[in-house]
C-alpha cells in the first residue's frame, strides 16, 4: 500500500508491504543507518526513533502505521557544524565508545530533555533502561544529559 510519511522533515510517498516494519522502511529503504537492527523484539532499543515526538521501537511498529505521522531519527538532530547540545555533550564527556547504541541513547535523552528538562538522576537512568549499551557508558550518558541541561 502507498503511504505518505514525514521523516526528518521531508515528506516521502512510499509503497510498503503489510509485513514491513518501520525499521525496514527507515534503514533499508530510506538508508537511515542510525536505525539499527539489534534484537528485533524490543529488548535492545537500538532501533529507537521518535514517532510524533515520542520514542518507540521501530522494530515493533509496522511501516504503514507511520502514514501521516512524523518520524525523527538521529540524522536530523544536528549537523556536523551545528551539533545538538546533547551531541555536543556526548563528545565533551567522551560518552561514545563503540557507538552502536548512541543514536538511541540520544533520542531517548532528547525526548526527556524536551519533556522534562528538570529530570532527576533517577529519571534519566529510568529513561535509559530502554537502551542496551554493552560498553556500559550509562554514567557518561547521565553526565552528558546534565551538561546539555545546563546549556
Amino acid at each position: 500500500m502507498e503511504i505518505t510519511t514525514i521523516v526528518n522533515g521531508v515528506s516521502y510517498r512510499v509503497d510498503v508491504k503489510s509485513n514491513d516494519r518501520l525499521t525496514d522502511l527507515l534503514r533499508k529503504r530510506l538508508g537511515l543507518m542510525s536505525v539499527k537492527e539489534g534484537c528485533g523484539v524490543g529488548d535492545c532499543g537500538l532501533c529507537v526513533v521518535l514517532l510524533d515526538g515520542k520514542p518507540v521501537n521501530a522494530c515493533l511498529v509496522l511501516a504503514y502505521q507511520a502514514a501521516g505521522r512524523e518520524i525523527t531519527t538521529v540524522e536530523a538532530l544536528g549537523s556536523h557544524e551545528n551539533l545538538h547540545p546533547l551531541q555536543r555533550a556526548f563528545v565533551d564527556v567522551g560518552a561514545v565508545q563503540c557507538g552502536f547504541c548512541i543514536p538511541s541513547a540520544l533520542l531517548v535523552l532528547k525526548h526527556l530533555l524536551d519533556s522534562k528538562p528538570s529530570a532527576s538522576r533517577e529519571e534519566v537512568r529510568h529513561a535509559l533502561r530502554s537502551v542496551l549499551c554493552r560498553c556500559g557508558s550509562y554514567l557518561r550518558f547521565e553526565e552528558a544529559f546534565e551538561r546539555a541541561r545546563q546549556r
Partner: protein, 280 residues
C-alpha cells in the same frame, strides 16, 4: 526469517479496523487476531513463537482510547497505553508510579496498551496484579452485546474464544502497593506482588493480594493470604506470618529466569516489604 543478519516478519494479512462493530465481526467471523500496540504480537511473530498471520490492527479505534473518572472508580479504554495510565492517573493511584518505577523498557510503554496486557494473561504483565488489587472488571464487546467479567474470574477461564476487550473498570484505591523483583533488562519478572486494603479501626479490611506467578506463569489473587490478613492489625508479626503463608500458597513456574522455590521465597519477601512499608 533472517536475511543477511536482518530479522523480519513473515507474510502477514493485516486489516485495519474502522469501527468497533467492524472489529467484532472480523474477530468473530473472519478469524483475525487483534493487534493493539503490537509490542507482543510483532515480537512474538518475529521470534517465531506466534503463528498468527491474520492481524486486525485496532490501534486507530479512538473509541477505545479514553480515561473516565468518577469519585472512586476509573474506566480506561483498552487502547490506553501504559504511559498514559501513569501520566494521567499516577497522582491519584500512587501504585501506578511504582509500576512505572519498575518498568523494564519505558520506550515500550508508549505503545503497550492496558488491553494488550490483560488479554495476554501472563506474568510478564505487571499491570495485571495491580488491576487485581484494584478489583478490575473487564468490559468486552461481542456481536451479542456487551459482556462483563471480573478480572480474577477471567484469568481462571481456559477458553481462548476470540473476543474484543473494550475497557477496564477499576477502583481508585489509595492504599494499593506494588513491588517487583526482576533481572535488569528482562521483561519477565522473577516475581511481582500487589497489595491493597482499607483500614478500619486499625484493622485490615477488603484485602487483596495478587502475584505475577500464581499458577506457573499465570497471575492471580492469593486467597489464603487475603483471608489471613483480613481483620488483623498491620504489625511485624502479621507481616512475617503473611510472608510465610504466601510462599506456601503459590505454584510459580520454574524457568531460565528463576527456579520455582526462589520465586516462592521472593513472593514472601516482597509481600513482607509491602506490608511493613504500608504499616510505616
Amino acid at each position: 526469517m533472517t536475511e543477511l543478519g536482518y530479522l523480519g516478519l513473515p507474510k502477514l494479512d493485516v486489516a485495519v479496523a474502522r469501527s468497533v462493530d467492524d472489529a467484532v465481526r472480523m474477530i468473530e467471523r473472519e478469524g483475525y487476531i487483534v493487534m493493539a500496540g503490537g509490542t507482543y504480537v510483532l515480537s512474538s511473530i518475529t521470534m517465531g513463537v506466534n503463528k498468527a498471520r491474520k492481524l486486525l490492527d485496532i490501534s486507530n479505534l479512538d473509541e477505545l482510547r479514553f480515561i473516565r473518572e468518577s469519585q472512586d472508580r476509573v474506566e480506561a479504554g483498552a487502547l490506553t497505553t501504559h504511559n498514559q495510565l501513569v501520566e494521567k492517573l499516577g497522582d491519584r493511584i500512587p501504585t501506578l508510579k511504582s509500576f512505572w518505577r519498575c518498568y523494564s523498557s519505558p520506550v515500550v510503554s508508549n505503545r503497550a496498551t492496558l488491553g494488550g496486557s490483560i488479554m495476554l494473561k501472563n506474568c510478564s504483565e505487571d499491570i495485571i496484579p495491580i488491576m487485581l488489587a484494584l478489583d478490575a472488571e473487564l468490559v468486552f464487546q461481542t456481536s451479542r452485546g456487551e459482556q462483563r467479567s471480573k478480572l480474577h474470574e477471567f484469568l481462571q477461564q481456559r477458553s481462548t474464544q476470540p473476543i474484543l476487550l473494550k475497557s477496564v473498570v477499576f477502583a481508585k484505591k489509595p492504599n494499593c502497593f506494588f513491588e517487583k523483583l526482576w533481572l535488569g533488562v528482562s521483561r519477565i519478572p522473577i516475581m511481582s506482588v500487589a497489595l491493597s486494603f482499607v483500614q478500619q479501626d486499625g484493622r485490615l479490611e477488603e484485602v487483596r493480594v495478587a502475584v505475577s506467578h500464581h499458577s506457573l506463569s499465570l497471575p492471580n489473587r492469593v486467597y489464603p493470604v487475603e483471608r489471613f490478613l483480613q481483620g488483623r492489625t498491620l504489625d511485624r508479626q502479621t507481616a512475617v506470618k503473611a510472608s510465610q503463608l504466601m510462599a506456601q500458597s503459590i505454584n510459580p513456574s520454574d524457568d531460565v529466569v528463576a527456579p520455582a522455590w526462589y520465586r516462592r521465597e521472593a513472593a514472601g519477601v516482597l509481600l513482607g516489604r509491602l506490608l511493613t512499608g504500608a504499616g510505616g
